[in-house]
């Protein structure tokens, strides 16, 4: 091969090829930047955060409620920023290892071009995955695919063109003056590297680089350059990344501060890339100052934050249940729990009230001995929400509303309860004459609309840094975080029909118009279950036949005696039972010590536990007044899948499988004897951590 009149064989070309040398240099000296690229590759390749759906955010970005050219353009624009960021800190970090850069014009520009192996690979990989995904999952047409790809690339180019004019303004292109500072690139956050000394220590090698008009060139030696000359060259070609860095950080803060405006709600993938850009810039700056000490420093910072948060309220972010007054706190202790559970009067009144409701339910069925239906709907995000909706709609359609008429109680977890709550609201609106048809397709469409973009946008802009925004509910102020975003999006998707308080449903349930819903989020402090319903459920907190009562269930109305629990926002209850780890924050309750509520699915993903306890507590009435119970399970996954297979356990599996099994068992105990079954209903997970 002939390059610049020099003969090269293939191996030599590869070894001297500057883009390839730069890749090796990243591996050796700039590994952290590759970690950020790796995260992007893994996300797009569906290997990172895929169970939370992060991949969707990238392959199907939504802006202003739809996947559009604009949303892809914004994503491309953000990626452009990430790439320029990558180039600036790489140039600071490894640029000095290549003295020949001083011999060419616009060294930073040439550096960027030659440093585009990874960005280019990512862009190609992204487009490939996006097209594949859009065809298979969104049934996109060829013209749509072209439009999306074009918009994405246009977004990238817009950023590149902006940066080109920023880094190389026309007025400065031919400027010649000597500055004594030896700074090839200035950055407000990076330490100034002494390039000249590094220069001297480099071997004088010849590189093949991509030069002007994308032609391959061989590098010239810079050995003969003395210090003054190098300084001169740098002064001439100095670029400043100051504005770029400040703009990126400023953009991030403004997204976080003004996230209430739809127009600023960029696709979540965009805010994630922005976050990665900032993290990589800050990390690189820290690294330039502290070198290897940056890792121990990070550990110390995290430990310090942890310590401070345990001692004071700083960094201890809470997610609030809207409608509650957090200045009035009830005591949460084993004594308090026992007192509540053994309050015979409370238990009796709540049971009488429930039985009164059962009578009304029975009357509404118009049967002398009706079947009592209990619906259990499992957790599993949007898929469970839609599935619950589909099952209710289809069964009611076929059986002429007999399912909802006979259903007295609905329990379950997470997504399933979201779908059930929406359907129940629609049934109520039909009963009071506001709508005619609850089985319309529109409702299924509503509940299956995207919730993830809003949630992830809030998580990656507001929640991670400053939580400055406040909202007001029932005269109380709360900090806005992604839990609030979840509720807002749920109401938006369902046209605000669910925007009620918990107490709103009490009377309608009592009259037998709609079934009761029992939410059972897990109290993370001790593993107990918080039963939340519009009705008082104290009678479920004590099982009399039992010799050892572990007081596993707690009724929210009994616990929060200082509050008007009826004012609790219904969507906050739905959210508390759907706080999938990391995706949504645990919900804090106003108690002393504060208790945190998490997904009901942790203890009872299918609602089986609540159902059995419920039947057991009301068995006499059921025996006398019904012809039996039907438990309708709306499950997202079959108990034993038809094609279930089992694999040989490998070395690494031995480490990870025990954990996975723990999670699975918590979802459902598959094999239990009769005795164990009752024991499991009554023995909670662990009660040590109560103070």
């Amino acid at each position: 091969m002939k390059i610049n009149d020099q003969d090269w064989n293939f191996i030599e070309v590869i070894r001297a090829f500057f883009p390839f040398r730069l890749f090796i240099a990243h591996l050796k000296h700039n590994l952290f930047s590759l970690v950020f690229w790796l995260i992007l590759f893994l996300i797009v390749g569906d290997q990172f955060g895929s169970s939370f759906g992060i991949t969707f955010l990238f392959l199907s970005p939504e802006y202003l409620g739809e996947v559009s050219g604009l949303s892809f353009g914004l994503l491309g624009f953000a990626l452009g920023g990430f790439i320029i960021g990558f180039n600036t800190y790489s140039y600071i970090k490894i640029g000095a290892r290549y003295p020949f850069l001083t011999t060419i014009s616009k060294p930073f520009y040439k550096f960027c071009i030659n440093n585009s192996l990874i960005p280019l690979a990512f862009i190609v990989f992204y487009l490939y995955r996006m097209i594949q995904f859009q065809i298979a999952e969104e049934f996109a047409t060829t013209s749509t695919l072209f439009y999306y790809s074009f918009s994405f690339i246009a977004g990238l180019l817009v950023f590149f063109i902006f940066s080109f004019f920023y880094f190389f303004p026309i007025s400065r292109r031919n400027r010649k003056y000597v500055d004594q500072t030896v700074k090839p690139i200035s950055s407000p956050i990076h330490k100034r590297e002494k390039w000249y000394d590094l220069f001297r220590s480099q071997k004088d090698r010849t590189y093949i680089y991509i030069g002007r008009r994308f032609r391959l060139m061989t590098s010239r030696s810079a050995r003969h350059f003395d210090k003054k000359l190098v300084q001169e060259v740098y002064a001439k070609n100095r670029i400043s990344s100051t504005l770029f860095e400040l703009l990126t950080i400023g953009m991030f803060f403004s997204l976080s501060l003004f996230s209430g405006y739809d127009i600023l709600e960029v696709p979540a993938a965009t805010s994630i890339i922005l976050l990665l850009t900032i993290s990589s810039m800050i990390f690189s700056a820290l690294h330039s100052w502290l070198k290897g000490w940056v890792y121990p420093l990070l550990v110390v910072v995290v430990l310090l934050m942890n310590f401070i948060s345990a001692q004071s309220g700083v960094f201890r972010y809470s997610s609030y249940a809207f409608g509650l007054d957090y200045s009035k706190k009830d005591i949460y202790s084993i004594q308090a729990i026992r007192k509540m559970a053994e309050n015979e009067m409370l238990n009796e009144t709540s049971k009488e009230s429930y039985i009164n409701m059962l009578e009304n339910w029975k009357a509404a069925t118009n049967e002398s001995k009706p079947k009592l239906v209990i619906v259990n709907s499992s957790g599993g995000g949007s898929r469970s929400a839609l599935w619950t909706m589909v099952v209710f709609q289809q069964v009611d359609k076929t059986l002429k509303n007999k399912l909802t008429k006979h259903t007295q109680m609905i329990t379950g977890a997470s997504g399933g309860m979201v779908g059930a709550a929406y359907y129940r609201e629609l049934v109520l609106r039909r009963e009071i004459g506001e709508i005619k048809n609850v089985t319309s397709k529109v409702f299924a469409q509503n509940i299956s609309k995207d919730m993830l973009n809003k949630l992830s946008f809030m998580a990656s802009t507001n929640d991670i840094l400053i939580r400055a925004q406040k909202c007001e509910f029932n005269g109380h102020q709360y900090t806005i975080e992604r839990g609030y975003a979840f509720e807002t999006q749920l109401h938006k998707n369902t046209n605000y029909v669910l925007d009620h308080s918990l107490g709103y449903y009490k009377d309608y349930e009592q009259r037998g118009l709609i079934p009761t819903m029992i939410f059972s989020p897990t109290i993370i402090n001790d593993g107990r279950r918080m039963l939340i319903s519009s009705q008082s459920l104290s009678f479920l907190t004590q099982t009399k036949d039992n010799l050892q009562n572990s007081y596993e269930n707690i009724d929210i109305h009994a616990l929060l005696s200082k509050q008007n629990t009826g004012d609790l926002r219904f969507s906050s209850v739905v959210r508390a039972s759907a706080t999938f780890p990391f995706v949504m924050p645990m919900v804090t309750l106003p108690t002393e010590p504060e208790i945190q509520l998490m997904d009901a699915g942790i203890r009872d993903n299918y609602g089986g536990k609540t159902t059995l306890e419920f039947i057991d507590a009301l068995k006499d009435w059921i025996q006398k007044n019904t012809s039996g119970v039907i438990i309708v399970q709306i499950r997202d996954t079959k108990k034993v899948l038809n094609d279930e297979t089992y694999k040989q356990i490998s070395f690494l599996d031995k480490l990870t499988l025990p954990l996975e099994i723990c999670i699975e068992i918590s979802h459902e105990s598959k094999i239990l004897t009769k005795r164990e079954c009752f024991v499991s209903v009554q023995v909670p997970l662990n009660f040590q951590s109560i103070k």
């Binding site: 895929s50 839609l386 076929t398 007999k402 973009n453 309708v632 079959k638």
Partner: protein, 66 residues
């Protein structure tokens, strides 16, 4: 769990399941986002033989004429 414990009560307890995913290969992601393809799969799932059989049984138990 219900089957075993139902013996403890003096009234019949029937259990009817509607399953979204019947095979391991029917993967639908667990998140707050659904693709068009996933939505279509969920709507179709109701018409599977097993779920239709469940519907039939429920209909009989509730004494409805279809």
């Amino acid at each position: 769990m219900f089957r075993i414990s139902s013996g403890a009560f003096e009234f019949p307890i029937d259990q009817i399941s509607f399953n979204l995913l019947e095979n391991k290969s029917d993967r639908i992601s667990l998140s707050w986002h659904l693709t068009k393809q996933e939505k279509a799969k969920i709507h179709e799932a109701f018409y599977s033989a097993e779920n239709q059989a469940s519907l039939q049984r429920l209909s009989e138990l509730l004494g409805t004429k279809r």
